[in-house]
Symmetry: C2
Subunit: 162 residues, 2 copies
């Protein structure tokens, strides 16, 4: 779906719940559409939105993100670094929240594939737990950092580690 279309869809969503469509909300959604691959914090969004709508307040950004989260347009996620991050929901892969967090460079990448189909079935059956959503996060060392580490160990023996 094109950006245009998705914007229209989101506007419709707002409207159908009798929320008002304000320039601030529109600008916020634009920013989210233009930065889909990042995991923006509220602060990040605030700074980006200020370019489009300099008069916007931080509180409004928080309010808008919270609203979009309730409408299930964005997902509010948490990598344990002290800030919430907000991701536009992709169509289809409705609630696939699989992340690889690198403990060396801090990079976060995303796995689209549904890894948990079997696991979910098992949990629903064995614990009689009705799953609505899930979060799966792996902490480890990303490809790039492994490569970098390998290169450096050629030059000299590994020394300090933080």
């Amino acid at each position: 779906m094109a950006v245009e279309e998705r914007m229209t869809f989101i506007k419709k969503q707002l409207h159908s719940q009798s929320y008002k469509l304000t320039p601030q909300r529109e600008a916020t959604v634009e920013v989210l559409l233009e930065n889909e691959e990042d995991h923006l914090s509220a602060e990040d969004v605030y700074l980006l939105v200020k370019d489009k709508a300099p008069e916007i307040g931080l509180a409004t950004v928080y309010r808008t993100l919270e609203l979009l989260n309730e409408l299930e347009i964005v997902d509010k996620i948490n990598f344990g670094d002290g800030v919430s991050r907000y991701d536009l929901r992709k169509e289809g892969a409705d609630h696939s929240h699989h992340h690889l967090v690198c403990i060396q460079c801090g990079d976060v990448s995303e796995i689209e594939e549904d890894l948990l189909a079997e696991v979910e079935t098992k949990v629903e059956r064995e614990w009689n737990f009705k799953i609505k959503d899930h979060r799966l996060t792996f902490h480890g060392v990303c490809n790039a950092c492994q490569t970098k580490a390998a290169e450096q160990s050629h030059q000299k023996e590994t020394v300090g580690q933080e």
Copy 2:
């Protein structure tokens, strides 16, 4: 392993890293050993420790929990409710962090079983990501709340939802 033994083990851990064994640390570990099944927040621990050592300060509890986390004696976990929780690591099931969070009653239960063996293999192979740890959390409706909901819908039609 008995509580006594585990306490001794933890003391040894501290000592081997030349950390000092203070009454405050001892009392904190005691509390953790006595409340293994709960997911205590720092505040929770603080209140419980005050019974044993009333003069302890909240900052010391935070410091101690942070230290125990670094020593890999406890795991600092995050359910997205705004507070960190601290769980004693069980022997064996070293880093199995699977949780079921009920979106109705807020209850958190734990799955001991390793659900992710296959998934981990796949991620390590396909993304060349060296996994050190993981978190898997399901959000949904627990057994008890499903039962309760079913009973209530006998009495009258479901009405409001928050």
